[in-house]
Amino acid sequence: MSGDSELRTILSDQVNRLLADRVGKENLEQAEAGAPQDPLWRAIEENGLPQVLVPEDRGGVGGGWGEAEVVIRATGKYLAPVPLAESILAGWLLSEAGLEMPMGPLSIAPVRADEALTISREGGGYRVSGEATRVPWGRNAEHLAVFGRCAGEPYMALVPAEAWTVELEDRNIAAEPRDSLHFHGHAVDAAPLPDHVDPDRLFAFGAMVRATQIAGALEMALEQSVQYANDRSQFGTPIGKFQAVQQELARMAGEVAAAGAAVEAACRAVDRMGSGAGFELATAKIRASEAASIVAGIAHQTHGAMGFTYEHSLHFATRRLWSWRAEFGSETYWAEALGRSLAAHGGDALWSHLVGRG
């Protein structure tokens, strides 16, 4: 049984091969020390991966979220130290607003639920101003897809690097850049968001992208842990032969499977319902963020002291899991939001709501 599109299968092979070949301990360490990853980014661009959600008539791959999912999940699994996931999301937002997606690494702003940027009309053009913190890869991005209100209406702007100043070079605990940017009213291209993209859902799309990366990093943590349990011997036998270890790894496999299923359900729902997929978007981040904590914990317990060293590569996955579970809203943030919307409809509506989402 396989309901996967041919494009999805091709992309999956392509991105997994490319990242498995090109991302390893060496460039992950270099990236953490601040070295730019230009050759990796060029290889990604040559394969058209950032444009997966850009329509074909705009020079993109023309995929849906079901196709984007395999690419974004692979960035999470192989821990790619470049803003590919952010670029895919930015490319989608720009395309939806009818703006061109430029080459080069992209990111998005704002990324915090409590921040907003202003887009103002001036003469024939637009200007963007304000402050945004924790912007992923802010210092590396050549352009940002910026969401803002222009005279109260939701707009997207394509913002070049000269439009912002990096006020603070910050990072998450995986040493991925999360920078504070000041936008000083530079002239930019901008266009209104179309009606079918709900501006209140943009944060949720960011959450889905992070959830998808989490699903990938969970796979990496599981594979590394099973490998280690098979390789590491104590008491004269591989530790994976001990039931105590097997039981924990089985628990881990369940969490990995559930997060993956929640993410696939969300991507499919977005392809079917667009912004109407709020339930599935929230569910994906709840389930993935929760799995992140459980899986990272078991992965480290399995690896023992070895996994607590910088020398061992496990932390490249687990430090991302601890970062990503909090970005674009934690499991508690989304559970509360989902719970409030369910509570507003009362108990009698729950079952029909669940089965009615198909």
Binding site: G240, A250, T283, A343
Partner: protein
């Protein structure tokens, strides 16, 4: 290593068509059924209700028409199942016959057995239980010792079975007995047999009260109970592989994550009345888990329908589903300032009291958590 991917799947339109019918049936027959009773989920035993389900065509849905079944797809049955579980309908009386015994008889039973039993299962007229575990054989099922000794025209059964849900109330048991005590491996020499509980001498059934005070399960003692030749199911000595096939039917269905559903509803009702951040987060978290498990379960149903073997995926659902079901009473307890109240409480208090106690069994029945995780570990290549 197994991929552990649960590819998204949809219930087909013909299955969705069942939904309105079963809902209308449940509305008609459960109008005043209280929440604390609905909380019994698939432990609620009511032969009259089961007969009504049979008359309405909701039992034996997938059984062939040639034997009085309805010839429907597994997806159509899935919709019926999830609707009765969402309603908390009392389905325990026919549960085993419809889910396990019927399919087992259809696969391994004699033609005579199929013609005699399947139509009556489908009408809800005869009820079944399972005789697998014994006082000294639980997770190590292959170590069962209850003997079936050859005699003129059949076997004499001696020994005892335990945890046989409903044995004191139903008509038949399908038992797993040691028919060849000299077999080399303990997995060999086992046979499955049909036991007519109402018309066989030498069987004494003693209900065992559970910690919530209910009498669901039993100990059945066999003393020279005679089973005629024609009641052998399948092949003599092949009982083990038949039982494994039977157990695989039961690991991935909606009953693996719906057992605490009535308590989720009660929690949601309470949070709807008075919405705190913690209450909303509790509801949101539980419903996110529920929706994900349902998607995974439908994915496995699609694999089953496509003829693939989903035994390992079913174990993943049982692992996640029982963790989830058991989290519901705990989260409700930690979220709402409520004392469980079994006798005079409101619907929430009574439902919380019941599910808190019943949840203990969720990771024991149908294969313990440890056994299920062992199966998953094998899929990871660790065993």
């Amino acid at each position: 290593m197994h991929s552990f991917r649960f590819e998204p799947a949809d219930l087909p339109a013909e299955a969705e068509a069942v939904r309105a019918d079963i809902r209308a049936f449940l509305d008609r027959n459960l109008a005043d059924y209280p929440s604390a009773m609905r909380a019994r989920s698939w432990s609620g035993f009511d032969p009259e209700f089961s007969a009504k389900m049979g008359q309405a065509g909701f039992l034996g849905m997938t059984f062939p028409k040639a034997y009085g079944g309805h010839g429907k797809t597994a997806f159509e049955r899935y919709v019926m199942l999830e609707e009765v579980l969402a309603a908390g309908a009392p389905v325990a009386a026919h549960w085993t016959a419809d889910r396990q015994s019927g399919p087992l008889i259809l696969e391994f039973g004699t033609e005579e057995m199929k013609q005699r039993l399947i139509p009556r299962i489908t009408k809800g007229e005869i009820l079944f239980c399972i005789g697998m575990s014994e006082p000294d054989s639980g997770s190590d099922l292959a170590s069962v010792r209850t003997k079936a000794t050859r005699t003129d025209g059949g076997w004499l059964i001696n020994g005892s079975k335990i945890w046989t849900s409903g044995a004191h109330l139903v008509d038949y048991m399908i038992g797993l007995f040691r028919s060849d005590p000299n077999a080399e491996r303990k997995h060999d020499g086992l046979s499955q047999m049909l036991v007519d509980l109402r018309n066989t001498d030498g069987i004494s059934i003693r209900p065992i009260k559970n910690l919530a005070g209910e009498e669901h399960f039993n100990e059945c003692v066999f003393e020279d109970a005679f089973i005629p030749d024609e009641n052998l199911i399948g092949t003599e000595g092949e009982g083990w592989s038949q039982v494994m096939a039977e157990l695989a039917f039961e690991r991935s269905g909606p009953e693996r994550y719906m057992s605490s559903y009535q308590l989720i509803l009660e929690l949601l009702k309470a949070v709807s009345k008075d919405t705190s951040p913690a209450g909303a987060a509790a509801v949101g978290r539980l419903v996110a888990h529920l929706a994900t498990l349902r998607n995974m379960s439908i994915s496995v149903a699609a694999k089953l329908q496509a003829g693939e073997d989903p035994a390992l995926d079913g174990s993943v659902i049982k692992e996640l589903g029982t963790l989830f079901e058991q989290s519901v009473p705990l989260i409700t307890h930690q979220t709402l300032e409520r004392e469980p109240s079994p006798d005079h409480g409101d619907e929430l208090g009574q439902t919380l009291a019941y599910v808190t106690q019943a949840a203990t069994s969720f990771s024991l029945r149908g294969g313990t958590r440890e056994i299920v995780r062992g199966i998953i570990a094998r899929g990871l290549g660790l065993r």
